[in-house]
Each structure stands twice: as structure tokens, then as C-alpha cells.
């Protein structure tokens, strides 16, 4: 039964990592625009510039 203590700790750590992922995705703006990315992915990359010069915000 003492393995429960370890499992408890592990489960908490895993779930905290999901919480952190959620917080990151909110602050990063992943939920800001639900539509445009789905369209954008369908455009053909007829230029390479966009890929090479991604601007970091």
C-alpha cells in the first residue's frame, strides 16, 4: 500500500503539468482565434520567405 504515496505524488505532478500547459496556451494566445489557422493551413506556400522569416513576437 505504501506505493500509493509514490503514485499520489506522480499523479499530482502529471496533472500539474497539464495545468501548466493550459495556462501556457491561454497566455500564449492559442484560444484567441479559432478560425483563421484552420484556413491558413490550406494555402499553398508559394513562397519560402514566410517560412524562413517567421517573426518572433
Amino acid at each position: 500500500m505504501s506505493s500509493l504515496f509514490i503514485i499520489l505524488g506522480v499523479s499530482i505532478i502529471i496533472s500539474i503539468s497539464f495545468l501548466l500547459a493550459f495556462i501556457w496556451s491561454v497566455t500564449n494566445g492559442q484560444y484567441d482565434d479559432h478560425y483563421t489557422p484552420s484556413v491558413r493551413i490550406l494555402f499553398e506556400d508559394d513562397d519560402n520567405k514566410l517560412n524562413n522569416e517567421q517573426i518572433s513576437k
Binding site: 499520489l8 478560425y35 483563421t36 494555402f43 520567405k49 522569416e53
Partner: protein, 802 residues
């Protein structure tokens, strides 16, 4: 016989023969945009959608964006700036389809100075980063305008960023509460199933301590907004619903912490965090409103940001905030006059429809006073300002104190409930304490805290937030967009409805046109249509849409064309000369006829033919709407326009309606105020800047908008012009909302009675609280959802019947 073509770019019917690469265009503007795109290999734009383009207006004046060269303007607009990199976000209300996204994200192919552009379709905005050494901000804006997406720039609307961050904070608070709640629930299960006793030594304590740690962020972070609301309420000496909720949360947490520290139990932290989680979701749901719409525009949003001043013969572009009295300003065709001023040079034809709802152009002479908010049609004029923009006639409205304070939201009817609730609850707790004091004094503290924990008014709150949130979305589906959910309650209380006339009960999209004069032949008809198609004037456009397309195609083409702004058009074909315009222009032997509505006169080959009488078109379904409203509400009409349509309005609205003409913007505000002082709850419906004061003053102000992208004055709600006929239904729906909430309240009170009756007997256990809490929350949410759907259905039935 020629075939008919639609413009390859914008889809309008082509009249002239403008062809490029085998595609037809309606005007040269559209053709130029096409050529620009095809040069840069962006013709995919036309493949993704048929005729996606926005009609090029062909009125591209080089100086319009000159103010964007001013450093102080640039620094106000841009997000980030370095010597070779500028980031900027524009709002582009014209974005409407996939092609728009495609084109706008390929801007870097047209101008190499643009490094990257990204569209946010839902916000209808674009993020652009560019190299200022290669392309100026002004050039970027001009490029956007050229391809049809003119940004609506305002220096005030940066508040959107603040909304976004509070929204994010709210989401994180919900996320944290949800995480902690579900984990605490999970860790509490062993205890429920083992009836409160776990054999394994230390395991019980471990669970308790983890639960304790997990509950802290919920208590300190997630619930902080509830606490601060409660404190705000108390400092204003009001008991709002957050006060008893905060009390319940506080007692739940402190008793649970006490039990954990003294090893006497594991507390009620599962129910406590769960309640907070549900309440936060409810609030988020209720406040989820329409990001794209702006409900808080001030007059500054309407005015241009920059203006050309001409002092000592030197032209200079300055931001409007620097405009001073006695400056000489240059106002070009289609520009708004930024401040009250005197006409010094040029021919002024001012459209004041924005300011007072009048539809006809006013001609002004040199030395005349021009009011801010008027729009110049025709050649450039030189003005001398006599007031600064913020002190001008139209903007003085905003100096009225109602614009400085937040509108007094009538007290929500859940707040009085929470008062009664608190009083009843405290007296029950008090009586229970006295009873147990005499029976078993060891249980006093237990019973007292149990009562306060279990009888949380949160289900009252949940019922209100979810019902209003649902109703708001249902109403939004029918194109009435509310600023927030409390507007529903205010709508339910309305007794008087005040309408503006122009643009509110009349539509700008259609006009009623009547022709008076010598009958026109088919060729003459075609000729007029052809001529009108060349002009972008409002009246020309209405005329163009009104005239039928003759079965035989137009065989002539215009050889010579000139337009005198504010007067009329002269067009010559191979065999005839056509003049259409106002009475002065089409030289007519008129019998000094006074025209109250706008008239377009026609003269062909120096023979006066007659005139087109163009008057407002009342919205479809207006009669029915008025008939329905008249049964329950007192109606009023306030118009800034002349009384030409008095008779027509009286026919529609009947005798009980007060109809006033020539009402100034301040007059409208005062009228609404007087009604309110006589105890009325006023709903104001208007569309223009001239209604802004009244919209603000009224209990509920609804701005009518033909096109959601357009400016609408500050208001509590925005309605689509076409949805206005459904107004009686919206009001009825709002009244039904109260019934819906009461149903939810009734159910939550039943739960409370069950809970309290257990609590005063001292029988409440964490496991019962943990079962009762989610069940009550979920049923309340379900009830809120079902009642709002159900009442919408009822309304739909009554709508199709009537």
C-alpha cells in the same frame, strides 16, 4: 446583342467595356486592383471564392492618410517600433471570406518592405510587421485601402488589449479552480467509500494535506474576484449577491482548514472548490459577449485622426488633437469637418445626416458657420476653426455628465433576493444555535457552520448567470447584440420606446423613388442609368439601382463626363447631352416648387424632362412592429429632420405617438430625461451621432446598424437593421427571462431547504455536501438552458402566427 458580365473583382454588373486578361470589370478601380494582384502572382484570390473583391471606389485621394507621416501619430498606433521593424495591428471590418485571409497574408509579395502579415478572422483585424526603412506606415495603410481594406484607425480603441487580458485572467482562474476541484474530488473518494476511516496509517493525513495545498490557489486566486466584488458592495453599503457567497466560501474554507489542522476531519473543500468553479464558469458564460462589436465609441472614433492645416500658405498635416482655434484647415471631398468653423474659401455642400439626420445637402456660402460632424461633398474647402473639436456643437454632448459616469445599471432583481436570503439564513443559523446551546452545546459550532456552508446562495447566482447568458446568445442569434446580460433585465422593465427617424425606422439601403414629368423613352432611361452608374453620389446610386435595366442593351457610350460635386452630372454621348442634378443644375423652369425630399432633375438636349423624387423608405415590417408595440408601450419619434414625412408617420404610428421634428441632439437627450423624471423606463433606438446622448441617457439604448462593421454610437445593444421588426419579440423574450430565472430560483430554494433541514439537525457530512452540491448546480444549469430554449420556441411560434 452583347452578353452581360459581372465584374471579375467585386461581382457588380459591368456597364462599360473594361477588360483585362479576358476578364470584365465594372470600373477601372477594380481593374487596377486585379492587375496589381496578377502582377504579383496572387490570382489565387479569385480562385478561392467567386468575385471576392471589395468594389474599388476609385476615389483615392493622395493626401487622406498624410497624417500617418506624423511621428506622434505613428507612435500612438504602432505596437512595437525599432529602427528597422514596426509591428502594428489594424482593424479591417471588410474582412469577410477566405480570399480576404489569403490576400492579406500575402501582402509581403506585393510590397517587399512588409515582413509578415497575419489575419485574425474573428476579430477582423490584421497584424503587420514591416521594415520602416523600406515602406512607411502611410504606404502600408494606402496599400490596404487600395486593395479595398481600409483600416478603421482610432487611437482610442487600444482598450481591446485590456479586455483580452482580463478575459485571459478569467480563463486561467477557471482553469486553476477546475484543476484543483477535480483533484480534490479524486482524493476525497477514498474517504467517501471508507466511511471516513482509512486503515493505512498516514494515508488519511497525506490526502488531507494534499487537499489543503490544492485548495489554497482556489481560495486566494480563483475566488479573488468574488471577494473583491463583495468588498466593493459593502463599501457602497449594498449587500450584493457576492456578500453571502463570500461569507459561505470563507466559512467553508476556514472550518475545513480547522478540521485538517486538528485532525478532526477532512473538511468540505471538495464542495467549496466545486462551487467556486461552477460560479466562475457561470460568470464567464454570462460575460462572453461580442468581441468584434464596439459598444463604447466616443465621438473621437468618428472623426478623422489627422487634418491638413494651411497656415501662411504652407500645408501641414497634424493630428487632430493638436488642432487649435483660428487654424486654417483644408477639408477635402468626403471628409468630415472636425471642429465648428467658418467657411473661408470654396463651395461647401455639407451633408449633416450624421449630426441631425437630415438627408439633403446644405449649400453654404463664404462666411457661414459649419458645424463639426458635417461631411463635405465636392471640391476642397478652406475653413477657419472657431472652436476646438472637443468644444464643438456636436461634441458638447459628450461634456454632459452622463458620458462621464457609468450608466446606472438598475439594480438586478437577484440582489434584493440575496438580501432576503441573507437575512433568512442568518436567522435560521441563529435559531439553530440557540436550540443546540440548550440541547447539546458541543454541536453548536458544527451546526452553525454547516448551515452557512450548505445554504450558499450560489445556486441563485448560477441560475441568473446561466439563464441570462443563454438568453443573450439566443437574442444574438437573431441579430440583436447586447453589451452585457444585465441589459435583458432592463429591457424587461421598459415602458416607453423612443425612435429616431432617419436610419432607424427608415433604411439607408433603399429609397422610394417616384418620377414626375414627361415620360422617358427607353433610350433616355438607359442613358440616365448609364450616367448615374458613373457617379458615386448617394442619390446617383439610388437612381442607378432604381432604374430598370432595359431589355436592349445600352448601345451608346459616354463621350464626355463631368461631375460638379453637390450639383449634378453632365454627360455627353455621340448624339445627346444629359444633365441630371439639382434644380439649379438641370436648368429648369420650375414653378418655384418647394422640395422637401431630395429630387434629381433631368434635362436631355436642353429640354427639361422632369424629376425623380427620392424619399426615405420605411423598413419592411414597420407597420406590424408598431401595431404590436402600441399595445404595450408608449411610442415616441424624435427626428432631427424636417417634417416632410409627418403625414406618413402619423399613418403608421397612429394618434397615440408623439412625433417631434427638428429636434437637436441635446433636445433628444432632454426629452428622454423628462420622460424618465416622470417615471418612465425608456428604450431609445437610434443610429447616428445625434442620438448618442439620448442612447446614453435612456435605460436601454439600442443602436441600429445596417452593417455591423459600421460605426455605431455608444449604446447598450446593437441591432441589425433587418432585425428591428422583431423588437416586440425581443422585449417579450426579455420579460420571459424573469420567469425563467424564477423557476431556477424555486428549484435552488428546494435544494436549500433540504440542505438546511439536514444541517440544523447536525447531520450534514462532507459526503452529503459533496453529492448535493454538484447535483443542484447541474440541475440549475440544465433548467436555465431548457427554459431559454423553450421560451425562444414559444416566441417563434407566435412570430410565425402573427
Amino acid at each position: 446583342m452583347k452578353e452581360k458580365y459581372n465584374c471579375y473583382h467585386c461581382g457588380d454588373l459591368c456597364i462599360d467595356n473594361i477588360i483585362a486578361d479576358g476578364n470584365h470589370f465594372c470600373c477601372n478601380g477594380c481593374k487596377h486592383v486585379y492587375l496589381l494582384l496578377s502582377e504579383n502572382g496572387l490570382c489565387n484570390y479569385y480562385q478561392l471564392n467567386n468575385t471576392p473583391g471589395i468594389k474599388a471606389k476609385g476615389k483615392f485621394t493622395g493626401e487622406r492618410f498624410a497624417y500617418l507621416d506624423d511621428e506622434s501619430v505613428i507612435s500612438k498606433i504602432v505596437l512595437f517600433k525599432s529602427s528597422n521593424h514596426i509591428n502594428v495591428t489594424f482593424s479591417l471590418p471588410q474582412i469577410h471570406c477566405v480570399s480576404c485571409i489569403y490576400l492579406l497574408e500575402k501582402l509581403h509579395l506585393i510590397e517587399s518592405g512588409i515582413i509578415q502579415s497575419r489575419v485574425d478572422f474573428q476579430q477582423k483585424s490584421i497584424f503587420i510587421s514591416f521594415n520602416p526603412q523600406l515602406i512607411s506606415l502611410r504606404k502600408v495603410v494606402e496599400l490596404l485601402s487600395f486593395i479595398g481594406y481600409e483600416p478603421s484607425i482610432s487611437m482610442l480603441e487600444n482598450s481591446g488589449a485590456a479586455d483580452k487580458s482580463t478575459n485571459k485572467k478569467q480563463l486561467i482562474q477557471i482553469g486553476v479552480a477546475g484543476f484543483c476541484f477535480s483533484n480534490i474530488m479524486m482524493l476525497s473518494f477514498p474517504e467517501y467509500f471508507s466511511k471516513g476511516f482509512i486503515e493505512q496509517p498516514g494515508l488519511q493525513q497525506t490526502f488531507s494535506w494534499i487537499i489543503f495545498v490544492l485548495s489554497i490557489p482556489v481560495f486566494l486566486y480563483s475566488a479573488s474576484s468574488i471577494f473583491s466584488n463583495a468588498i466593493n458592495g459593502l463599501t457602497q453599503k449594498k449587500i450584493n449577491i457576492d456578500v453571502p457567497i463570500s461569507l459561505a466560501i470563507f466559512i467553508t474554507f476556514s472550518r475545513s482548514y480547522f478540521e485538517i489542522f486538528t485532525h478532526t476531519g477532512s473538511g468540505y473543500l471538495d464542495s467549496g472548490t466545486g462551487i467556486i468553479f461552477f460560479m466562475l464558469i457561470g460568470r464567464w458564460f454570462q460575460n462572453k459577449s461580442y468581441d468584434v462589436l464596439s459598444f463604447d465609441r466616443k465621438y473621437q472614433s468618428y472623426f478623422p485622426l489627422g487634418i491638413t492645416i494651411k497656415n501662411n500658405g504652407i500645408e501641414e498635416n497634424i493630428p487632430i488633437s493638436k488642432l487649435a482655434i483660428d487654424d486654417f484647415i483644408l477639408v477635402r471631398n468626403n471628409d468630415l469637418i472636425p471642429a465648428d468653423s467658418i467657411l473661408m474659401e470654396g463651395v461647401a455642400n455639407i451633408d449633416y445626416s450624421f449630426v441631425n439626420g437630415e438627408n439633403t445637402l446644405q449649400k453654404k456660402n463664404i462666411g457661414d458657420l459649419l458645424y463639426a460632424g458635417g461631411k463635405q461633398f465636392g471640391t476642397s474647402i478652406l475653413l477657419k476653426t472657431i472652436k476646438v473639436p472637443s468644444q464643438s456643437y456636436i461634441t458638447e454632448l459628450w461634456n454632459n455628465s452622463i458620458f462621464n459616469k457609468n450608466k446606472e445599471t438598475s439594480e438586478s432583481f437577484i440582489h434584493p433576493w440575496s438580501k432576503y436570503f441573507t437575512v433568512v439564513l442568518l436567522s435560521i443559523a441563529f435559531l439553530a444555535t440557540i436550540y443546540w446551546q440548550f440541547t447539546d452545546s458541543s454541536k453548536v459550532l458544527l451546526v452553525l457552520t454547516s448551515v452557512l456552508i450548505i445554504a450558499c446562495p450560489c445556486s441563485l447566482l448560477l441560475s441568473a448567470t446561466f439563464t441570462f447568458g443563454n438568453m443573450m446568445r439566443v437574442i444574438g442569434k437573431h441579430h440583436l447584440f447586447l453589451k452585457n446580460a444585465t441589459v435583458i433585465e432592463s429591457l424587461a422593465k421598459i415602458t416607453h420606446v423612443v425612435f429616431d427617424k432617419t436610419g432607424t425606422i427608415t433604411t439607408q439601403e433603399k429609397s422610394d423613388i417616384k418620377y414626375n414629368g414627361i415620360p422617358l423613352s427607353e433610350i433616355e432611361n438607359d442613358l440616365i442609368k448609364l450616367t448615374a452608374s458613373n457617379s458615386s453620389h448617394v442619390l446617383s446610386r439610388s437612381l442607378y439601382h432604381y432604374l430598370p435595366l432595359s431589355p436592349n442593351n445600352i448601345s451608346t457610350s459616354i463621350v464626355e463626363y463631368s461631375e460638379e460635386a453637390g450639383k449634378g452630372i453632365l454627360a455627353k454621348t455621340s448624339d445627346s447631352v444629359l444633365r441630371i442634378g439639382n434644380s439649379e443644375f438641370a436648368v429648369a423652369d420650375l414653378l418655384n416648387h418647394a422640395f422637401k425630399s431630395a429630387a434629381v432633375h433631368v434635362e436631355i438636349n436642353n429640354n427639361y424632362k422632369g424629376y425623380f423624387d427620392i424619399s426615405h423608405h420605411y423598413r419592411d415590417g414597420l407597420n406590424k412592429m408598431v401595431a404590436q408595440l402600441n399595445k404595450k408601450y408608449v411610442l415616441h419619434i424624435l427626428s432631427g429632420d424636417n417634417d416632410a414625412e409627418k403625414q406618413a408617420l402619423e399613418n403608421i404610428f397612429g394618434n397615440n405617438t408623439t412625433i417631434k421634428f427638428f429636434v437637436s441632439p441635446q433636445g433628444k437627450l432632454d426629452y428622454v430625461k423628462t420622460l424618465q423624471q416622470n417615471g418612465a423606463n425608456v428604450l431609445m433606438i437610434g443610429d447616428g451621432l445625434n442620438d448618442a446622448g439620448a442612447l446614453m441617457q435612456a435605460s436601454v439604448g439600442i443602436a441600429v446598424s445596417e452593417n455591423r462593421a459600421n460605426f455605431s454610437p455608444a449604446s447598450d445593444a446593437i441591432i441589425d437593421g433587418h432585425a428591428l421588426k422583431m423588437l416586440p419579440l425581443f422585449l417579450k423574450y426579455a420579460r420571459m427571462g424573469k420567469v425563467n430565472i424564477s423557476i431556477g430560483f424555486a428549484v435552488s430554494i428546494i435544494y436549500n431547504i433540504i440542505g438546511i433541514s439536514l444541517a440544523i439537525q447536525g447531520k450534514i457530512l462532507p459526503v452529503i455536501a459533496a453529492i448535493l452540491m454538484p447535483i443542484s448546480s447541474i440541475t440549475i444549469v440544465l433548467i436555465a438552458f431548457l427554459t431559454s430554449i423553450w421560451s425562444e420556441k414559444l416566441l417563434k411560434i407566435s412570430f410565425s402566427k402573427s
